[in-house]
């Protein structure tokens, strides 16, 4: 598997094709916005009944990332569950598959706006976490440096010889990094839209996911 290595606040990091971030020095694996239980929540509210395979698909990818990187610590950057009811409804199925992977590792559930409370799966529940000189939280805060967050589900569109290519992406500038959503059924926000364009510095870089992640100046 081809990741893209880069440095952020003196930390050597790797953007993995799956959308996970790996920090070899700390053996930390970071994923954001898993949104487990999204289909369940949509159906519960009288919405569409989407193919109920997103849990399996997302877990398959997460377990593969864990198997390949063998992390000491796994950080889920919030919105791991689509809401607390979804956490209750799907928690057991998730626990069953995650338990072997959680054993012997530090596992952090950062709180998100969708899951602002303990999800009853073991591991630690934190509002945010600081590791070496990097801070992990769900939603980016102004003025912080060395911050890694999620929440916005960034994606980017580039036009290549008349062909438009849209990909999930990581956004990185001198101060902060925003990770893409890792969950299978998660929409995205184009990085050229104001919420993200205003958040990131003018010289920000986008790493577009794919079989081999690729870095570009952030499309605006």
């Amino acid at each position: 598997m081809n990741g893209l290595s880069f440095s952020f606040h003196d930390a050597a990091l790797v953007a993995r094709p799956s959308g996970a971030l790996f920090w070899p020095a700390e053996r930390a694996l970071v994923v954001s916005d898993l949104h487990f239980g999204k289909v369940e929540r949509m159906a519960r509210r009288g919405g569409p009944m989407l193919p109920p395979y997103e849990l399996t698909e997302t877990l398959d990818r997460l377990l593969a990332d864990i198997a390949q990187t063998d992390p000491r610590i796994v950080i889920c950057l919030g919105d791991s569950f689509d809401d607390l009811a979804a956490a209750r409804a799907t928690g057991e199925a998730v626990a069953e598959r995650l338990a072997p992977a959680m054993a012997g590792r530090r596992w952090i559930w950062i709180e998100g706006n969708h899951d602002p409370g303990p999800v009853g799966l073991g591991g630690e529940h934190l509002a945010e976490l600081t590791l070496a000189n990097l801070t992990f939280r769900h939603i980016a805060e102004g003025g912080e440096t060395g911050e890694i967050s999620g929440h916005y589900h960034p994606k980017a569109r580039v036009i290549l010889r008349g062909r438009a290519i849209t990909r999930r992406c990581l956004l990185i500038d001198a101060h902060r990094m925003i990770l893409p959503a890792y969950g299978t059924y998660t929409g995205g926000l184009f990085c050229h839209q104001p919420e993200l364009a205003n958040l990131m510095q003018p010289d920000a870089t986008a790493i577009l996911l794919g079989a081999r992640p690729v870095a570009l100046p952030m499309p605006r």
């Binding site: 290595s5 880069f6 790797v14 919405g47 569409p48 997103e54 390949q68 299978t184 995205g188 870095a215």
Partner: protein
Amino acid sequence: MTAHHPSLPPQIEGWFSSRGWSIHPHQRDMLSLSDQPCQLLIAPTGGGKTMAGFLPTLAELADGAHKGLHTLYISPLKALAADIKRNLTGPIEEMGLPIRVEDRTGDTPASRKKRQRADPPHILLTTPESLALLTSYEDAQRTFAGLQRVIVDEIHALSESKRGDQLMLALSRLSTLAPNLRRVGLSATVEDPQAVAGILAKNPDPCAILQADPGPDPDIRMLTTETPPPWSGGGGKYAMQAVLDQVKAHKTTLIFHNTRAQAEIFFHHLWLANEDQIPIGIHHGALSREQREKVEDAMIAGQLKAIVCTGSLDLGIDWGDVDLVIQVGAPKNVKRLVQRIGRANHRYNAPSKALIVPANRFEVIECVAALQAVREHTLDGDTDHTGPLDVLCQHILIRACAGPFTADELYAEVRTAGAYADLPRDTFDRCLDFAATGGYALRAYDKWQRLIKRDGVYTLRDPRGTQRVRMNIGTIVDADKMAVRLQKTRGGKPLGEVEEYFASTLRKGDTFLIGGQVVRYEGMREMNVEVSKTPYQKPKIATFMGTKFATSTQLSDRILAMFRQDDWPELPQHTRDWLHLQRKVSKLPERDRLLVETFPHDGREHLCAYGFAGKNAQQTLGLLLTQRMEEQGLNPMGFVCTDYATLIWGLDQVSDIPPLFSRENLLATMESWLADNAVMKRTFKGSAIIAGLVDRAMPGAKRKTGRQATFSTDILYDTLRKYDPGHIMLDITRQEAMRGLVDFGRIEQMLDRIGDRIDHAPLTRVTPLAAPLFLEPGRIPIQGLANERLLDDEAERLMTTAGLEFGPRVPS
């Protein structure tokens, strides 16, 4: 003189005679047969069709005894409903009849819509979508109690579309609510009235078919010009001056084009050549409503000498004094041509005048074939129409909104719609299960099912679900579009729409044509494309998609029949010489054989297969053949196709032709190709929206800021294929693709036709018939460069330009 009719009240008789008008024979026939459960009237445009449809209603309502809704009138166009309201209200007032007429469309204010349900007018004019919505309310029973007649206008246009299928399912519901309901269809000339009648009637009721006098034969010719048409391409630019001369010589001319892009380009050139400043307008479906209405008003007011238009003017709004119709580009389909010609001379019993302008040399042959067909009164047959299942799924949800139902009742009701008469019970049950539970192999939604079955009765679990179903009603699925607005005008004057994909390829400074003017792309603001005016630049052409029609089987057959002639005195000399030359150096294609030419050209090997299967099927054939050649290591590099042939080029010569075209090989390739294909994903998206698997994106709805809630349906398609390959949505997608864009049916027809009679002509140079294909636009490269490779190049270039640096790629 008015013939007296016993059932016609004196007010109506008086109105006709006071104007010195007589009732047409077919209008009288409609009256005398008005107690039949189903009537279909086939009449040419201008034959007083609408009045024929409404006369029995006026007669029955004349005494003022009927309370509530009596007649429902359905038209495919909102504008038509408004038009009919005007044309009906006048006579009703003049006759002094106690009849209330109202229309109800997407544009009707909510307060009036609500009142219409509680206190419906005698005559309600509406569209298929608005009717489907009406039947979804719990008080539908009350609204439609006492309904006597339903009139479906332009049923020929509806009978081949999903909108028609939705309408007929709604009528199946109305016939349950109002058992005495009589159905009336009004149709333009069609090849097979029986087929339309079968779709209209409540199965198995009979349907009386009335044919109005078709009037005199049209005066239709091919426009001959000094310059011969070009070898390839479309648009008819070469005939600009001749068309302008015709416009000058007539009162009002409609100039039809097959695609919006061609209409735009033609209009642009016409305007440049228009030295006398003749008032000419443009009208097509991608223009903003304001723009279209402006043109329509100017037309009605008689201010325009000509309108350049597309199918958006196909349906029968009365434009007054049109005395010439010009069709630019081969008509592709005889029925459509005849209906378009009918737009000229909207007076009964006057011949319509029309000219066809072939856009290229091959189209000369096609136009001559079409003219023969018109003269011989043979239209294109309707293909078998079985009701699509995505529409059925939506109907089941609409039915659930109105109240509880049982599967047996609904199944019986659905089968009264002709297109669903043969629907197998297990297919219905799968659709019902999909609507109720999602229909997944993994029973994930036991707790949150959309429909709950209790004691054999289905009800909606969550009453909030009704709103969602209602917001998603409809069977038209558009590509995502973006409004185009002029910068720096108050409120940003809307010019029209382009597809989101097209907008995404624009860069600041690019110019394109819309509404006949060249505009310059300035940027994107709040999901609008902002443009400025630039009158003098050469445009980059807007590629917004109009409907692309494939040449009908009948026309293809006629052309192949012409090829059997020894000579072609009916063709212009240049086209005649061309066919003779082809016969001399190779041969002409034949109906029951397949001609495959191979020849080297420009350092590459070429293969040209004359399948005459229509553009979509020839394109599919191109994809299948190149995939097969790729597997055999023949290095195909690309292909291009027309309605008649597919031309493939590559590095290696193909020597063994017949196995390429064996049915087994094509089918096997088809299976593997279909699965992972953009066509399938596009088709899946359409069917997923119609069937209610995902919500329709609301036009004009403010996009959620922050995180986006929607995601690509491609992910759903991939997930289903991986985890639930037997799911009904995949079956539906396959069915729809096969009869839609893939058009495999036409390939199979071709294989039936040719059997094993394949003629391989190995030649040393390009043949006359193959030559135009080299100029044809729309060449498709075989998996050109992979996206990853493109991305890498671009990334390197951009990062270098921006002076940014990133660490080396490492295995992780």
